[in-house]
């Protein structure tokens, strides 16, 4: 009982173990280039040999036939020469040389007969097969050759004839000679073997060369593999192998990828370093204000105000950094969808107006008549974030009676249709020299300077949409910030070069 149970248990565990084992042993196995090449070349050679064998066989057979047909023909001539017409009738003096010629090949059996035009055998073996040559024009100069079975073997026959001139009328006399195919078959086999042996040797050499060639061709790759294997994980230097032309593009692609990886890692590192620096500075300032506040008195009250102010800035900075990180993060994913820009702008504007406590700023929105013409494919949250930053900037840098206009218009981007969203203000504007720098992270400008992250976010959003962000002077005064987005991002948006 116990024994049975335990056996069952082992059986079960064995069954349970096997799928896991299988899965471990055979994930997707890499195929062998060498084996494929060998199999392919073997197949190719086999086909080649098959074709050549057929040709060789045909050639060998005809060569053997031609060679030995000459013997038969010679024997026929020798016999015909000795057939003469005498007053007593046809005289046949079979020359020993005729059969001697045929006896040159050792093993073959020989048959002959001499016939007249009516098919009557004058001498020799009477029952030889005719292959119907009597129905055709009787041969005179050019002999007829044919294969036929006689006495249990295939024989090769020749028939030739000559015309004997008698007093009354010419008379045809023919000779038929046949021999077995032993010598012919031997020669045929010999020719085939002599042809096939070098062919087989060549095939084997070819397969061996394919075998060796794969190793030779793969050697540069092995060098590259060693290079990559030996690298430190931080080392993103391009591979300095000199690749053969055949794998050059692969090496170039690997090097390009590493360069981009290096670039983006560098950006991430500098971003983190910037963020750390900004946060540390900001928090240190807050801590300083709070310490002063603890001392009390008038200085303390002022410090409390500064501390609140600093805390607000820190919160805002944190929010913006998170927003920036989010925008960058979202750019990595496929979050694009159709976005109605007028709708988006209108909602944003409602929100801003609600938040504007002072109510001194004059907000205006200019939208196109047809909302469909201002539809783009993009990430609505990112676009909204960008616009929000632009409006915040406009509020921050502008006078209290600022006039802020949001305008959505059709535009063209590098020859493709797009939409432009412009934000105008009546602020001091940015000097032309500073315009490229303000989009850099943590570059802050002017007395009401912000965190220096806002425009960087806008630029990142424009970039992630394959769009453009530009700053210009508004008329009559102030700054115009414009995001131009393509209606649909280019197909190869992912394959950045």
């Amino acid at each position: 009982m116990f024994g049975t149970r335990s056996r069952v248990r082992t059986a079960e565990s064995g069954v349970a173990a096997s799928p896991g084992l299988l899965a471990a042993v055979s994930p997707r196995r890499a195929y062998s280039l060498r084996r494929r090449l060998i199999v392919a070349s073997m197949a190719a050679f086999a086909v080649l040999i098959a074709f050549l064998s057929v040709g060789l066989w045909t050639y060998a057979r005809s060569a053997a036939n031609e060679t030995y047909d000459l013997l038969l023909r010679g024997a026929a001539i020798a016999i015909l020469e000795r057939v003469t017409l005498t007053p007593e009738g046809i005289d046949i003096d079979l020359p020993p040389s005729a059969l001697e010629i045929l006896a040159l090949d050792q093993e073959d059996r020989v048959f002959y007969r001499i016939v007249d035009a009516a098919g009557t055998t004058l001498t020799g073996t009477a029952d030889l097969p005719t292959d119907g040559f009597f129905e055709r024009p009787l041969p005179l100069q050019d002999p007829i050759f044919f294969d036929s079975t006689y006495s249990g073997e295939t024989l090769r026959f020749v028939v030739n004839g000559r015309t004997l001139l008698s007093a009354d009328r010419p008379q045809w006399i023919g000779v038929q000679i046949g021999h077995t195919r032993v010598a012919r078959d031997a020669m045929e086999r010999d020719l085939i073997v002599k042809g096939l042996v070098p062919l087989a040797a060549l095939s084997i050499a070819g397969i061996a060369m394919a075998w060796a060639g794969i190793g030779f061709a793969m050697r540069p790759l092995a060098g590259i593999e060693r290079d990559i294997r030996a690298r430190h994980s931080n080392d993103l230097q391009p591979l300095d192998a000199v690749p053969p032309r055949e794998v050059e593009s692969l090496i170039t692609a690997i090097n390009g990828f590493m360069r981009r990886l290096d670039l983006s890692r560098g950006q991430a590192e500098s971003f983190i370093a910037d963020v750390a620096h900004q946060m540390r500075t900001s928090l240190a300032a807050l801590y300083g204000h709070l310490e002063n506040a603890g001392e009390g008195g008038e200085n303390g009250a002022a410090a409390v105000v500064r501390a609140r102010d600093q805390a607000r800035r820190t919160v805002r900075l944190t929010n913006q950094l998170l927003s920036h990180a989010m925008v960058i993060h979202r750019a990595d994913k496929e979050m694009f969808q159709p976005v109605e820009l007028p709708e988006l702008v209108r909602r944003l504007m409602e929100e801003i107006v609600r938040d504007d406590k002072a109510g001194t700023i004059d907000f205006a929105v200019e939208l196109p008549e047809d909302p469909a013409s201002a539809r783009v494919t993009g990430d609505p949250i990112a676009i909204r974030e960008a616009l929000r930053n632009l409006v915040d900037n406009a509020v921050r840098h502008g006078p209290p009676d600022n006039q802020i206009t949001l305008r959505v218009t059709a535009a063209s981007l590098d020859g493709r249709p797009g939409c432009a969203i412009a934000v105008d203000d009546r602020g001091p504007g940015i000097a032309d020299a500073d315009k490229p720098r303000v989009v850099e992270r943590f570059f802050s400008n002017g007395p009401g300077g912000g965190s220096g992250v806002g425009l960087a976010i806008v630029a990142a959003v424009a970039e992630s949409h394959k769009g453009r962000f530009q700053l210009s002077d508004a008329a009559p005064s102030g700054l115009r910030a414009t995001i131009i987005l393509p209606k649909t991002p280019p197909q190869n948006a992912g394959a950045e070069t």
Partner: protein, 355 residues
Amino acid sequence: MKGLRLVLLAGLLIVGIALVFLYAFVQRQADAPAVTLEVWSATDTSAMSAILSGFEAAHPGITLRYTEFNTAELQEAVLSARHLPDLIMSSAMDLQVDLVNRGMASPVANVPQTPDWSRWRGELFGFTQEPVALVYNRAAFAERSLPATRSELAGLIRDDPAFFEGRIGTYDVALSGVGYLFATQDAQRGFQASRLIESFGRAKAKTYCCTSAMVDDVASGKLVLAYNVIGSYALEQVTEDPRLGILLLSDYALVFTRSVFVTRQSAHKAAAGAFVRFLLSDTGQALVSRDSALFPLVESAGAQSFFESRFEGSTSLLPIRLRPSLLTWLDSRKKAKFLNDWKASITGELPAPVR
């Protein structure tokens, strides 16, 4: 459990193999005495008996049934037979080649190496080599020089027709197959042959059916010489009779071979093949050499010295090759014409028409 099954399987396999061997052994034992080989032969039984019994002694399971024919009878019997014997043996090389050429023979494997001229297609095997010789009466030639060549012989006859008149013997080629073979081979060798036959005709030569009759007449003095006798048969009589001499002409001496083949119809090809191999083996050849009137094909000392030790005259041996060229002389037209010419020459009645 698994091990037990394996052991059981191996055991079964061993038992199975043992059974197969046992069956094969029993089969052999049962089969062996049943084999009787039918041999049709155109060779004297007396010349062959030692060889036949030697084979039966070496192969206890095989019995030979030997039937003797003359060469022409043998050919006729073979061509008309409904069922062929296992082995056919004959001194008529041309007829043997003809039978094999018709496809009646079956190949024999692993036959000992023999000269190329004495075998054909791995089917037909010569097993003796016997020179064609000239036998003479020693008393008649006591005062005369012996001819060394055929032209010398023709010259002797021409110079002294009275001495040779009616006292030359040779084969009647119309009656004897081997006689025809020798005469045609002579004719094929050159013009001396027809000149010799014509001089035989002028000397009113006698024709015979067989070697022994010719040799008997030479011994008794009826003939002074006999041309183209079978050397092996003649030598037997010559060594026993001091009145006789035997000589090989030095221009050439034909050598023929007795040959044997296994028929395609044979039901006992293995046993028949064993007989062929036995004939050509050292044992078989030793029996031919020692216990028969025939001469072995394979002679360790070399054929030339073998013949020189037994025959007068040094000569170039000219083996008749077992090849289809022999068929030329079996051609009915050719044969009729040859016999016609030969008869005309030997009787001297009609001069051979010149063509």
